[in-house]
């Protein structure tokens, strides 16, 4: 368990965060310069917060109010540095053994052997860090950290220096290891895919503040702020005026998009005339077949022009513009849909913003 409440003034911005974790892996997600690494540094004791408190389990690591500030060596906090910070003058085995404390030689040997096999480092024990690949370095660093039996594990962009294939494999490894050693873990990343793959719970940080903490689905599909929506790749974020509200749906007027009908979570009230912000993910936008005759009256259909397409592997991004004000809309479609409908720049098409996929940002 880890509780932290940290305040620190830095040049240009300040950090003010509160977080609580069980024996889980929490992803701390945010753009570069948001203060993610600084939070890890304050938890580990590398940087001293101006005020606040850090507690791991029943032990207080830092408490400004009562003057507690445990030195790094007593915190039992495992830290995986972004560039791993391996000891270049020690072998893989030497690095792993470094933090195993005051036991017999046999105990240390056994523990090193166990971690070497767990981390798939067999045969590399006598190599020096500069003789290892990026992935091997990362695994050695993780083994070294786990060897000291930390009660909290902090991972600072652990996959950022690796190439794509290695990254995939090591992410899966990390989840396995976390299942075997369920240590309270904070993983920092600015990679959306990584955040989604690893974190059941995600905390989105921006400019030193946590904008939202929640389950993956919450953060991804139900962003609480415009920034979170933006960081989560929602892209289509619009504002409009409340035109009507019937308790279950709200009607929103936007000059370019028209009138949009969106479902409302129970308990939320809307007053006509107020401004609201709503959003929809690019992959949730449906393109309607040009020849299709719309039978009954359907909600949220709008006409727009294709102004650009960009291939993205198995999908294509369609850049659309709607209305007089040419409001940009981004849609993501499987390649076969693009081919079948013969979508090309200059074409005018109808798209549907299905109402169950529209999210109203509170």
């Amino acid at each position: 368990m880890l509780q932290l409440s940290l305040k620190k003034k830095l040049e240009g911005f300040s950090i003010d965060v509160d977080l609580e974790l069980d024996e889980e892996l929490l992803v701390l997600f945010g753009p570069s310069g948001a203060g993610k690494t600084m939070i890890l540094k304050m938890v580990s004791g590398i940087v001293k917060p101006d005020s606040g408190r850090v507690a791991a389990g029943s032990e207080t690591l830092f408490d400004a109010a009562s003057g507690i500030d445990l030195p790094m060596r007593q915190r039992k906090v495992g830290y995986l540095f972004q560039d791993y910070a391996l000891f270049p003058h020690m072998t893989v085995a030497g690095n792993i053994a470094y933090g195993i404390e005051g036991r017999t030689k046999d105990f240390i040997k056994e523990k090193v052997a166990e971690l070497v096999s767990l981390m798939r480092l067999t045969g590399l024990e006598e190599r020096y860090p500069d003789e290892l690949s990026g992935g091997q370095k990362q695994r050695t660093a993780l083994a070294r950290t786990l060897a000291a039996e930390p009660r909290v594990l902090l991972l600072d962009e652990p996959f950022s220096a690796l190439d794509y294939q290695v990254r995939e494999k090591l992410r899966a490894d990390l989840l396995n290891i976390h299942r075997m050693y369920p240590i309270t873990t904070v993983l920092v990343t600015h990679d959306l895919e990584e955040a989604f793959m690893l974190g059941k719970r995600v905390a989105v940080i921006n400019n030193g503040f946590i904008e939202q903490v929640g389950t993956q689905e919450d953060v991804f599909y139900r962003p609480r702020t415009r920034n979170v929506a933006r960081f989560m790749g929602v892209r289509n974020i619009f504002s409009g005026m409340v035109a009507g509200f019937d308790g279950q749906h709200v009607m929103i007027d936007n000059p370019d998009i028209g009138t949009i009908k969106a479902p409302v979570l129970p308990g939320r009230e809307f007053v006509p005339g107020n401004e609201v912000t709503f959003c929809i993910r690019p992959e949730e936008i449906l393109v309607i077949r040009p020849d299709k005759v719309l039978g009954r009256v359907q909600d949220n259909i709008l006409e727009c022009e294709i102004v650009g397409t960009v291939g993205r592997g198995s999908t294509h991004i369609l850049y659309l513009e709607a209305g007089e004000g040419r409001t940009p809309i981004k849609a993501e479609l499987p390649n076969f849909v693009l081919r079948k409908l013969e979508l090309a720049v200059g074409l005018r098409i109808r798209v549907s913003l299905k109402k169950e996929n529209i999210w109203l940002i509170p």
Binding site: R75, Y79, F81, A85, F87
Partner: protein
């Protein structure tokens, strides 16, 4: 031929270098790893002997270590040590003038050991002393060795400040560089050539051995 100058030079240089390394390690570490008020001033002070004329440095030392000077008075009164015009004076001159040559590369070597690596060791449960012993020193030793060799070479060659504080007393304080000067002044080129040969061979060997040694891996 009198080999006393060689003996006294080796003795003075070894002792001075030992002092330089001991004091210099602490200074270099503090300068590299700690932030404190007056750091720039301390740095300028340590580096002074590199830029002021050796005779000026010698004059300062003479005043400070003379029996009426603050340091000299203390040493004589409490410890009964006389510095001026003894071989100890030559040690002081060699020590002060070689200190910056050790501190500068040593500080750079310590700074080269990244904060992350040292913090990794701390977070693995090590005390400050253990971090220095097992991580900082083993990673910085090339720079430290280079600094020590430079300091030793500077100590063997010390002339101006040594002349001021230790004087030129044959058989007592006359070091090799001073003996060479003396020999040339009195037209004794045979002695001068021998001594020059010795010091040249010696300096060259030290640099060569140190260079070979620093390529050894760990």
């Amino acid at each position: 031929m009198d080999l006393f100058p060689l003996y006294i030079t080796v003795k003075v240089s070894l002792i001075a270098t030992a002092c330089t390394i001991t004091v210099g390690l602490v200074l270099a570490w503090v300068m590299a790893k700690r932030a404190f008020w007056g750091k720039g001033l301390l740095d300028a002070l340590i580096m002074q002997p590199l830029v002021i004329p050796p005779t000026v440095l010698g004059y300062y030392l003479l005043v400070a270590f003379g029996s009426s000077g603050p340091v000299g008075n203390f040493l004589e009164e409490t410890l009964g040590i006389e510095v001026v015009f003894t071989w100890k004076g030559a040690v002081v001159a060699a020590f002060i003038s070689s200190l910056p040559l050790f501190v500068k590369p040593a500080r750079a070597a310590f700074e080269g050991v990244g904060a992350d690596i040292e913090n990794a060791a701390r977070l693995l449960g090590k005390t400050e002393f253990e971090v220095i012993r097992t991580v900082t020193l083993p990673l910085a030793w090339r720079g430290l060795l280079a600094g020590a060799v430079m300091a030793f070479a500077r100590a063997t060659g010390e002339f101006g400040a040594t002349l001021m504080i230790a004087g030129n007393i044959p058989g007592l304080t006359q070091t090799l560089p001073i003996a060479i000067y003396d020999a040339v002044q009195s037209g004794d080129y045979a002695t001068a050539n021998t001594l020059v040969g010795i010091i040249t061979l010696f300096s060259f060997s030290v640099l060569y051995v140190a260079g070979r040694f620093s390529r050894v891996r760990f």
